[in-house]
Symmetry: D2
Subunit: 366 residues, 4 copies
């Protein structure tokens, strides 16, 4: 049986890994048990790398292994760029084998896998979709989850196209999905999301074509949240769900907010995770929330419920992803009285256009 | 008796005054009845002037008077800079005398006044506080409101210190509150808010000193929302409340959100305005909302409920006022399913530090 | 014969048209002679409209005609977004018939024309290229210029694709060049530039295909500077050159800076315009400069002379056009000791990629 | 005798220290000889820390010492925030003792010193000025420079006031210069600059008062460039000049540009450094430039030579320091055909208001 734990810890700056260091020093966390870290880092895009380096460095010292070994062992999913009431923090997942009998109750579990290294010309294609789908299936097995209905959040980090990679593909006579890196990145993220959808039965194998990626928005996963990084070479999958093989104290649930004002969708997520409430989450229940992961989608639209917004037109339009994250963080944060919850932005097949995907991990009762 | 009406109209761009023009052309609005316009304009600060000019131009043509006469007659309170789900729009207030008997029921009313022209050296001083307090009292009378408890929102636009005004004061041997225009502007806005507080009995005359302005944060008004503009020379007061002398179909209420997550404060505002609900506002009730004015305060703080935010530290910190408005717009907008509500930012004595002041105008029942 | 004058005037804000008003009131400028205004406006994109409206309003009052008539009569080319040492200002061109004999000397002249109204599906296509080329030819005739070698700067404002226009085209079963407005805008600007190139013999008719636009960067004009606006419906051409039929006191010249560090290209422009200097422009000669128009191209590249820049990668990358303008304004401004010169950004077939096109208007000697 | 070397190396990202690693691996640089690193990092403020950490990490591995030892040994002056044509890079200074006789020729030399740890209440005060002045004197000695006329650039990094430091001072009953961190930081940087001015005889001891700091702008150093960081506890001085005790191949010179258009000031700097040219720097001479350090001052002013700029008023005004650096980088870069030169911003007593301080290091002839 697996004992899976969840530690949400604040960071004072992108390189502040002191809270985790303390828990290791105190013996609360055995670094060998850490199976993934997912962080909401402030600052610009480089802060993600700064944060990763800081974790690798600290863990390599605590674990007595090289930084490269840390990096190979522990997937780090860094979500950059904060705004509004978003509070920089990270969530550490630990997992260890324990002796216990199955109780028939499903509890929180995580699975971690990665695809083989992808070729630049495969980024954003049906090949990537299928490789991701396989990795998701393997991550389910790793998490001890048999039923796709028990999967609630699949977080993926995939490689971005870069000038060097484009040159490499070109030199081998291959064509990449786009010579525009932003567009190529969008397609790579979309391919990951469709990979999740395929693995979880939300779309069919026949839906998966190169053309459908970032074009047929009727295809999507309600559980995928994907991002791309120049430093990645393969797709790293962090899958979260509930498993009969877990004795974790936590339980995960999820829900879809059809648009950013759809409070009912967020409430459904908290109820799915096990919170007990009617319309308003009482403080006692809110305190059971270990963390929340939201995939924000407001930046896909220039209006909401018939009202025009300036997200796509204003002089701050370049930061619309940050605004999309800030507003959903505020809305869901207000619901539980805590804005130290994670929001990432990404509309590419991650839920229907304009939707927000909410996954909540809560302490189980009793 | 006064019949006061409220028209909330969308704008496609800062110069789009077409919706009001249509209502005038249709005979729905007689432009002579317009007593104030309060707008949420997109774009940068210049859009406020662009919008004002567009209104003046259209109204001067419809009314057959000069633009200067329009400007002198109709206060225009332009709140610039939008983000997130904020939807550019404006609210037109009309007022006309009608024959009717007092019913004993208080209904929505507006009062409009302005102080005398201020000297630059008076900006941000106790003198401004007292002049504003007098104008607020007069605006109450203008609105037909006797009881300060019936006042729910006082919107003020005051002059900003400029290089030319500073030079003028200096040439006359006078000292302004600051040679830093941002600081001087803050103090001018703070003085306006304290003027409201003084008029409404929220502070005492003895509290009003030059030193207290933007320094003693225990002094504040829960009803003031103030802004400053280079184009202003006096303080323009738009006061909203309920009056026994009004036969408006509308009613106004207000509430204080102690911090940006304090949903109870926002609900209190809607209940105070007359909405009937327990925890969640049903769609039918939400449709009674004519408009909402929020004075946002999140940008006064670098944390919320113990969680650090990046509002004051990040590379987008210059836009923290926009983020403060975007998050409160999202939270309150989600409550009523509509983000075409106005948010202004201003922490200077406009509620306790970090609070949001919410005023809602709703259609009265029956 | 034409007498053409050039007035470069500062603006204190986007709506500040007071300097032109003064020259009209003083009798220096007869508003009937104004044939074009080209402005460098500060603020965001809306300031361009604000500025245009302010000019229209003032001129309609001075000229006793409607604003629509002003707009139809005087093309206004507003270049928005300033930064660095750029100084907001505008240049007014006047032209009037005078009795005089041809002297054999060519002097500064302007020609103004516009194409027919374009259909949205024609934006960014070979059809636009050809319509622009015709209008350029007509503008040459209007300017009294026979020889294409006498043309030094062709400034064009064309329509942008908007949601409404795309919908219109779609409703008629037509396809626009892109559903991405930024891409469509780029192609429209590119088509204008190729239209200039075609008219001036810089490319051949056979080069003009839909596919070549914003794709074959070997095709370009060294004299075109183009921009697009949502408010335009046709392409407005303002052509500047030297004509034997002009008795202007001014003379225009131009040069190409191959990259932003190519000082020799800028010097060639000043020499072509008639300044006398060897390496450094003496103050006396610099004072002969009436104005400078630069089409900046640095934002087309992520490096310069082998040095990587952060123009395309940094958190301010959304503003790279402003940085491109700010740096060329500084470099050329330093050469003449004055940064109140105009810079627009636009790489689409406006010179070779990464080049800056410099046109200088100077007072003729003697 | 000292042999001092200068290596200017490009970085592909804030953590890219590969070029230095290569030179160490090749044996070109012995890491024990590195006496300082000064970098121009892209990205936001956190990139400075990211870069420092990356250097410390790499050097600790190459040198077999701890990161803390690297940090204690090698001052790293990271200048963050790039724009325009600025090219991220770093300059490595090495110094080693060599057997040689004095030749009578002065060559490039560096001196490195730091003050004692400062108390938060000392930041931005006359005490800091005096401590810095002493450290500058010691750094001169360290560089083997006797004559203050041989000093050309003094780069200082000092501590910033932080919430924790303010709390510490307050808890001990001490008052800091400001509770506004931006203002406190300005004063700390100003105090450093005045410390340089005092050491170099540019001001008198009697000029040094708490009140003068960031208030009496007639006091300044033409050689100081200062910055502040939250991570610093003492003031680190990197002094550059020419010394009879150096056998370096390089020579340093400097000049003051009275304003950003003052090309003569920049030329004077290059001539002072030893370049031979009349008005234009020939390519062969430009190639002798090892690097250039500029302290930009354009952001201190809202106008230049009577022309209003939008530096202080526009929606990008928060980034005016970046624009100030971008424009001076462009102007001086154009002069030598290379924009991989360093620009920092800082107006506080670093030259007269609005001036730019230019220091150039060039390869000596023969």
């Amino acid at each position: 049986m697996n004992d899976v734990n969840v530690y949400r810890l604040p960071m004072a700056s992108p390189d502040d890994v002191s809270e985790l260091a303390k828990l290791i020093d105190n013996g609360v966390i055995d670094p060998k048990d850490i199976c993934a870290i997912k962080a909401q880092t402030e600052g610009d895009g480089y802060s993600r790398g700064y944060s990763s380096l800081s974790f690798e460095l600290m863990l390599s010292e605590k674990m007595g292994i090289s930084r490269a070994e840390v990096a190979a062992r522990i997937p780090m999913l860094m979500i950059g760029l904060t705004g509004g009431l978003m509070s920089p923090h990270y969530t550490v997942f630990t997992r260890k084998e324990v002796e216990a009998a199955e109780s028939g109750v499903k509890r929180f579990s995580v699975g971690v896998k990665q695809t083989r290294v992808l070729l630049p010309e495969e980024y954003g294609t049906a090949i990537q979709v299928k490789l991701v789908a396989e990795a998701v299936k393997e991550a389910m097995a790793d998490a001890g989850i048999d039923d796709i209905a028990d999967v609630h959040c699949v977080s993926i980090k995939c490689p971005n196209l870069t000038a060097a990679r484009l040159a490499d593909a070109t030199s081998r006579g291959k064509k990449c999905v786009s010579t525009n890196f932003a567009e190529a990145g969008s397609k790579a993220k979309g391919a990951c999301a469709l990979g999740v959808a395929l693995a979880l039965g939300e779309i069919q194998e026949s839906d998966v074509t190169d053309e459908a990626i970032c074009s047929n928005w009727n295809l999507y996963s309600n559980f995928a949240t994907t991002s791309a990084g120049n430093e990645q070479v393969a797709c790293k999958v962090l899958l979260m769900g509930n498993s009969a093989k877990s004795v974790s104290q936590y339980h995960i649930g999820s829900g879809v907010m059809k648009d950013t004002l759809d409070l009912a969708g967020a409430k459904a997520a908290f109820k799915s995770a096990g919170l007990k409430f009617d319309e308003v989450i009482p403080q006692g229940e809110a305190q059971r929330v270990a963390t929340v992961f939201i995939n924000a989608g407001a930046d896909a639209m220039g209006s909401i419920r018939g009202r025009r917004t300036t997200m796509k037109s204003d002089y701050l339009a370049a930061y619309q992803g940050i605004f999309a994250k800030a507003v959903i963080n505020a809305i869901v944060g207000a619901m539980i009285g805590d804005t130290m919850i994670l929001a990432s932005a990404g509309f590419e097949h991650q839920g229907p256009l304009g939707a927000n995907l909410v996954a909540a991990i809560v302490k189980a009762e009793g």
